[in-house]
C-alpha cells in the first residue's frame, strides 16, 4: 500500500485526531438524551462526523492520486508567530510602544528582503500612527508604557 495523495492523507489524519479528541473530551460532560440534550451530545455528534470524514479522506488517499505536501518554509511562519507572541508579552509588561516595536522589528524578518533601517523607521511610524489613532482619536484603553 502506497500513499498516493499525501495532502489528503495528512489532512484526514488531522481531522480524525481533532474529531476523536473532541469526542473523548466531551465524555466528561453529561450526554443526556435527545429530548433533553446534555452539553456533550452535540459535540459528540459533530466530532464523530469529523473523525469519520477524516477517515474517508485518509483511506481515499491510498486509492486516488493527489498532490504532495508542499514545503514548509520555517522563516515566514516562525518569525510571524514569534513576533505575535512577543507583542502579547510586551503589551502586558512593557506597554504598547515596546510591543509594536517588537512586533514590527521581529515580524519584518519574516521576509527575506527586509532592511534594518527601513524596519526601524516603519516601527516608529506604526507607533506614532497607533498612538494617534487608537489611543487619542478612538480612546481605546491601551497601556502605552510599563506600569501605566
Amino acid at each position: 500500500m502506497r500513499i498516493r495523495s499525501p495532502k489528503d492523507f495528512w489532512a484526514g489524519l488531522i481531522f480524525v485526531a481533532i474529531g476523536a479528541g473532541f469526542v473523548l473530551l466531551a465524555r466528561q460532560y453529561r450526554l443526556g438524551d435527545l429530548h433533553r440534550m446534555g452539553p456533550a451530545m452535540f459535540p459528540t455528534l459533530v466530532g464523530a462526523l469529523l473523525a469519520a470524514l477524516g477517515l474517508v479522506l485518509a483511506l481515499r488517499a491510498f486509492a486516488l492520486d493527489g498532490e504532495a505536501v508542499p514545503r514548509f518554509y520555517a522563516r515566514p511562519i516562525g518569525a510571524s508567530l514569534v513576533a505575535i507572541v512577543l507583542f502579547g508579552v510586551a503589551l502586558q509588561w512593557l506597554g504598547l510602544v515596546a510591543a509594536i516595536a517588537a512586533l514590527v522589528l521581529v515580524g519584518a524578518t519574516a521576509a527575506r528582503d527586509t532592511r534594518r533601517l527601513e524596519s526601524a523607521a516603519l516601527a516608529a511610524a506604526m507607533i506614532a500612527f497607533s498612538i494617534a489613532v487608537f489611543v487619542w482619536l478612538l480612546g481605546l484603553p491601551l497601556p502605552l508604557w510599563p506600569n501605566s
Binding site: 495528512w10 474529531g19 460532560y29 438524551d33 452535540f42 469529523l50 515566514p76 505575535i84
Partner: protein, 499 residues
C-alpha cells in the same frame, strides 16, 4: 410603510453627517485595501473592527459594509493595471482588463468597471429593499426545527459552491462548529473544551480567528511565494469609455448585474462566485464572440458588475435570517453581536433605522465610489508601488491591536498566534478556511436550535422531516450533495474553477 417610504426613511438616517462620514471612510478604506493585493476584505473588516467599537451600531455597520463593497471597486484597479487581482473576486477581470491596458485602453477599462459597478450597486440596493422584508417575515415564523435545517442547508450550499475537495470542506465546517462550541454552554453552564483556561470560558474570539485565518496566514503564504510585481503605470489616459464601448457593454453590465444579484443571495455565493460565473456566461452568450481574453471590454464589464451586485445582495441572508453566506458576512454578524444586537429577522422590526439606514447607505456609498475611483486612480497607482515588505508588518500591527482591543485581553493575542499555526498547516493541506469560519459562527446557533427542536418534539428527530419547510431545506441540501457527487457535474464544476 411601503418600500419607497422605508428607503426614504433610510436615506434620512444615512444622510446624517456622521453616517455619511463613516460611509465615506468605509468606502475609502475598502478601495484602498481592494487595490492592495494580499489583503482581502475579510482581513480588512476584521482589522478595522476596533474602529467601530466606539460607534453606534448604524454607523459601525455602514462603515463595515462600505469596506466590503468598496473593496470590490478597488480590486478591479489592480487587476487591470498590474494583472494581479487586488481581490479574489477580480481574478477574471485580469483576463481582459490587463490586455486592454496593454493596448493602451486602461482608462476605458477602469471607467467601465466603475460604471458597471455603480449600476449593479444601485440595482442590488433596490433588490435588498424589496426582497429582504418579505423574507424576514417568513423567517419570523420559523420554529427551531426549520432554523436548524436552514443552517444545515446554508452550510452545505456554501461548501458545494466553494473551491476544492467536498469532503475537506465539510470536515472544515465540522471543525469550525467544534471550535465554536468551546466555552460556556448556555444551557447547562458547563465550560466545555477550555483545558482549564479561564480565558476560554467566553469561547474563542471570533476576531482572533478571522485575523489568524485571513490576515496573518495570508501574509505568511504571500511571503513564501514572493514574486515580482510589475506595475503597469504607463499613461492611463482618458477614463471615459467611448460611446461604442458603452453600447457594447450595456447588455454585459445588465447580465452581470442579474447573475451577480442572484448568486449573491445564495449561501456560499457572494462576489467571488458571481464574477466567475458572469465571465463564463458572457463568453457563451456575447455576440459577436469577439476577442475574449484579448482585451474585450465586455470581459471587464460583466464580472465587475457581477461582483459588486453579489457583494451587496449577500447582505440579504445576513440581514433577514441572521445567517452568513460568506466569511465577510460572518464578520458582520460578529460586529452586530459585539454591538449587542442579536442578528436575525427581528432586526428589521426592532431596529428599522439600522436596517434601512444600511441599505440606503449602500446607494450613497456607490455614488461616492464612482466619484472616488475615477479621479483618484493616480493615487491608487502610487500606492501599488509600495513594496510588500513595508506593508505586511503594518498588517501584523493592525491584526494584533485589533484582536486585543475586542475585549482588552492579552490572551486573544496568543489565540491569534495559536490559530495562525493551525491555519497555516491546514492551508498547506488545501483545507480552505471559509467553510470553517461559517461553521464557527453557526455552530452554537445550530446546537441551540437543535436542542429546542428536540425539546419541543420530546426527542423525536423525525420532526426535522415532518415539518414541510424543514424537510424542504434538508432535501435541498441532500440534492446539492448528490448533484456534486455526480461525475458529470463534478467535471463541470472543476472546469469552472480552473478558468
Amino acid at each position: 410603510m411601503d418600500t419607497l417610504g422605508n428607503l426614504g426613511f433610510g436615506l434620512g438616517v444615512a444622510l446624517s453627517w456622521q453616517n455619511v462620514l463613516y460611509c465615506f471612510i468605509g468606502c475609502f478604506l475598502g478601495t484602498l485595501v481592494g487595490v492592495l493585493p494580499g489583503i482581502g476584505p475579510v482581513a480588512t473588516v476584521a482589522m478595522l473592527l476596533p474602529f467601530t467599537f466606539g460607534l453606534n451600531p448604524a454607523p459601525a455597520l455602514i462603515m463595515l459594509a462600505g469596506i466590503y463593497y468598496g473593496a470590490q471597486y478597488g480590486g478591479s484597479t489592480t487587476a487591470i493595471l498590474v494583472n494581479i487581482p487586488g481581490e479574489s473576486s477580480s481574478v477574471v477581470t485580469t483576463l481582459d482588463g490587463y490586455q486592454m491596458a496593454r493596448h493602451g485602453r486602461a482608462g476605458p477599462a477602469l471607467g467601465i468597471a466603475a460604471i458597471g459597478s455603480f449600476i449593479a450597486g444601485c440595482v442590488a440596493t433596490l433588490l435588498i429593499a424589496y426582497f429582504a422584508p418579505p423574507l424576514a417575515e417568513v423567517a419570523l415564523k420559523f420554529s427551531p426545527a426549520e432554523y436548524f435545517s436552514l443552517m444545515v442547508f446554508g452550510l452545505i450550499a456554501a461548501v458545494v459552491l466553494a473551491r476544492g475537495s467536498l469532503v475537506k470542506a465539510i470536515a472544515m465546517v465540522c471543525f469550525g462548529i467544534l471550535l465554536g462550541l468551546i466555552g460556556t454552554d448556555v444551557n447547562s453552564g458547563v465550560i466545555r473544551f477550555a483545558f482549564g483556561l479561564p480565558e476560554l470560558a467566553d469561547g474563542l474570539g471570533f476576531v482572533a480567528l478571522a485575523m489568524a485565518f485571513f490576515g496573518i496566514t495570508d501574509v505568511v503564504l504571500n511571503l513564501e511565494h514572493a514574486g515580482k510585481q510589475e506595475v503597469f503605470t504607463s499613461r492611463v489616459g482618458s477614463m471615459l469609455p467611448t460611446a461604442d464601448d458603452l453600447r457594447t457593454s450595456f447588455w454585459s453590465i445588465a447580465r452581470g448585474t442579474v447573475l451577480g444579484s442572484v448568486l449573491g443571495i445564495l449561501p456560499g455565493g457572494g462576489a467571488l462566485l458571481a464574477s466567475f460565473a458572469a465571465y463564463m456566461f458572457e463568453k457563451k452568450v456575447a455576440k459577436p464572440p469577439r476577442a475574449f481574453g484579448e482585451g474585450d471590454i465586455r470581459g471587464v464589464a460583466a464580472p465587475e458588475s457581477a461582483n459588486n451586485a453579489g457583494a451587496q445582495t449577500s447582505f440579504i441572508p445576513m440581514l433577514t435570517l441572521g445567517i452568513p453566506s460568506n466569511p465577510t458576512m460572518a464578520l458582520m454578524i460578529g460586529a452586530l453581536m459585539i454591538q449587542g444586537i442579536a442578528p436575525g429577522p427581528q432586526v428589521m422590526t426592532e431596529r428599522p433605522e439600522l436596517f434601512w439606514g444600511l441599505i440606503a447607505s449602500m446607494w450613497i456609498g456607490n455614488l461616492m465610489l464612482l466619484v472616488l475611483n475615477l479621479p483618484l486612480v493616480g493615487l491608487w497607482i502610487k500606492l501599488l508601488a509600495v513594496p510588500y515588505r513595508l506593508l505586511f508588518p503594518a498588517i501584523f500591527v493592525f491584526c494584533c491591536i485589533g484582536a486585543y482591543t475586542v475585549d482588552n485581553k492579552i490572551f486573544d493575542v496568543y489565540e491569534v498566534a495559536a490559530l495562525t499555526a493551525v491555519g497555516y498547516v491546514l492551508l498547506k493541506l488545501d483545507c480552505e478556511p471559509a467553510p470553517m469560519v461559517l461553521g464557527f459562527i453557526l455552530g452554537p446557533m445550530m446546537e441551540e436550535n437543535l436542542r429546542r427542536a428536540m425539546m419541543i418534539s420530546f426527542g423525536d428527530p423525525m420532526v426535522l422531516v415532518t415539518r414541510p419547510i424543514s424537510a424542504a431545506f434538508l432535501v435541498a441540501a441532500l440534492m446539492l450533495l448528490a448533484a456534486i457527487a455526480l461525475p458529470a457535474l463534478r467535471a463541470k464544476r472543476e472546469e469552472a474553477m480552473q478558468e
